[in-house]
Symmetry: C2
Subunit: 198 residues, 2 copies
Amino acid sequence: MLISPLIQNLMAALKCLPGVGPKSAQRMAFNILERNRDAGLRLSALLQEAIHKVKNCESCRILCEETICRLCSHHGRDRSILCVVETPADVLALEQAGGYRGQYFVLMGRLSPLDGIGPDAIGMGLFQERLKEGHIKEVILATNPTVEGEATAHYIAELVKARNIRATRIAHGVPFGGELEYLDGGTLARALLARLVV
Amino acid sequence: MLISPLIQNLMAALKCLPGVGPKSAQRMAFNILERNRDAGLRLSALLQEAIHKVKNCESCRILCEETICRLCSHHGRDRSILCVVETPADVLALEQAGGYRGQYFVLMGRLSPLDGIGPDAIGMGLFQERLKEGHIKEVILATNPTVEGEATAHYIAELVKARNIRATRIAHGVPFGGELEYLDGGTLARALLARLVV
């Protein structure tokens, strides 16, 4: 082999990053070794530290190094509304959109029986405990509009309604800036079904 | 801030990788922490090991963990031809193209007086020693056809010719598969100037 084994191993390890193929991995490895060694060492140290210290918040399951995350311990958030999302990235997207002042519950996945992901894997035990606390008046289901996301939302809605708590689903329809001409049929059909009186 | 400091620092560190912006860094950090922790630890360890162990080959300056790289110590390579390139990635590209059986010298950069990169920074001391060994009959200059690459090739050609060794430059012209219509004027002008009798 032309490249030395250690550099080859580094390239292979870089390919574990999402969106990084053989060519990008090669470029990254050479870039670090040629002129970015300090940044590479910092990245190595932070990867290790983050992997060892970052856990799930014991209240909402989001990734954080604290026991209870900043959002859950924030006094300004409305504790009567709980928004259920699949991933921490979804929380970021909703927070960046602004307007929501309640709390979150992060499933860290979605129900997927074929992959062996059942209610335990998406934290339903902790979720039931949250519901039992008694101050939650509404649960907003903001899982993705995929088959598995819909099934997950349906499953959680049943749990919520069994405790006489209001369960709502975020609206699905034509996105702002989207053109009807280029929209898929499923979204259009849903937008028609869910039409509102103006 | 919404994201915990440690995850934010990890995202910032990931941005040191070429081609990684804020959004990719976020995706990479969450991907590793959510479901790729083993791969992340392996990447962290390999980054550290490679940065500490990978040096420049003492014969051709390519990146490797050995004192003399595999190409330089390979008995099947023609030691009378030396191909000068800017980076290790250029060596890979030439080897993948096939056909070249000589040895390499990797500048690890190019002359760039404005950035303070002089002959020492591109290993001209070692290069002169290689020339002194006496078995080199031809030096192929394969630096990039940029202003700095051309200047570097010109500088090295003078060193080589001063020792009565043949200096050649790789051909520049219309690339295979390229269409004249879309080619830049500089390349076309060069292709015309360097035309060959058929």
